[in-house]
């Protein structure tokens, strides 16, 4: 009987303790009670600098007529990949930035002409661009960009016997326009 009474008292004490703890965790609303504030997730901040990598397809129209003493055109297609660094600054829904992108390519072609044939290869291109973008969503940027571009093209010329009779490596300066989404 004593054991039963002790067990009953312990159970009541434990239950009272739980109820007291529950009261501490969930106080009843009353004057001065403020519900917990809801904090929305932080929006992306586009201001700052970045570095990254890229990979894609490339195609070219190469005109190296002056190199081989005749008309030489090629239309190679291939893969381009490399890296980029840039910085952006955000004003409300607008983002402005600058970026340099350097890509190596495997753009190659072989073209026959009156005196033999020529192999052309576009080794790389580099673009330095400014961009202006609009945030259609806080994390979705649609942009247009433009700036300066550079490329290096190699040409190796062969006669009809297949003997190499000349080669050149030319750096060209130009311009670029484009756009995309990020």
């Amino acid at each position: 009987m004593r054991k039963s009474l002790a067990l009953c008292a312990a159970t009541i004490a434990l239950a009272a303790g739980h109820a007291f703890a529950a009261d501490l965790r969930f106080p009843p609303p009353g004057p001065g009670y403020l519900p917990p504030a809801f904090l929305p997730p932080a929006l992306p901040n586009w201001s700052g600098c970045y570095a990254g990598a890229n990979l894609g397809g490339a195609w070219a129209k190469i005109d190296e007529g002056n190199t081989v003493g005749g008309t030489l055109t090629a239309n190679p297609a291939g893969v381009a990949g490399g890296g980029q660094v840039g910085c952006d600054i955000q004003f409300d829904q607008w983002v402005f930035g600058i970026r340099d992108m350097f890509d190596g390519t495997n753009l190659r072609s072989s073209t026959s002409f009156s005196a033999g044939s020529a192999n052309t290869r576009t080794n790389w291109f580099d673009t330095l661009t400014a961009r202006e973008g609009f945030l259609f969503q806080p994390n979705v940027l649609i942009y247009a960009q433009g700036g300066a571009a550079w490329t290096n093209t190699s040409v190796i010329v062969f006669n009809f016997a297949g003997t190499q009779i000349g080669q050149s490596s030319t750096n060209n300066n130009g311009w670029t326009l484009g756009g995309g989404g990020e």
Binding site: Y50, N54, W59, A60, A149, L177
Partner: protein, 33 residues
């Protein structure tokens, strides 16, 4: 941006070099510091 500090992009560029030109269609990732 798809994760903190990370973004993906896809873009098209036309590069003009007088009588020659290059076009590229590329995708990439950026890490923002």
């Amino acid at each position: 941006m798809f994760a903190p500090h990370w973004s993906v992009f896809a873009e098209y560029n036309f590069m003009g070099f007088g009588t020659s030109n290059i076009q590229d269609l590329t995708a990439g990732v950026n890490y923002r510091f």
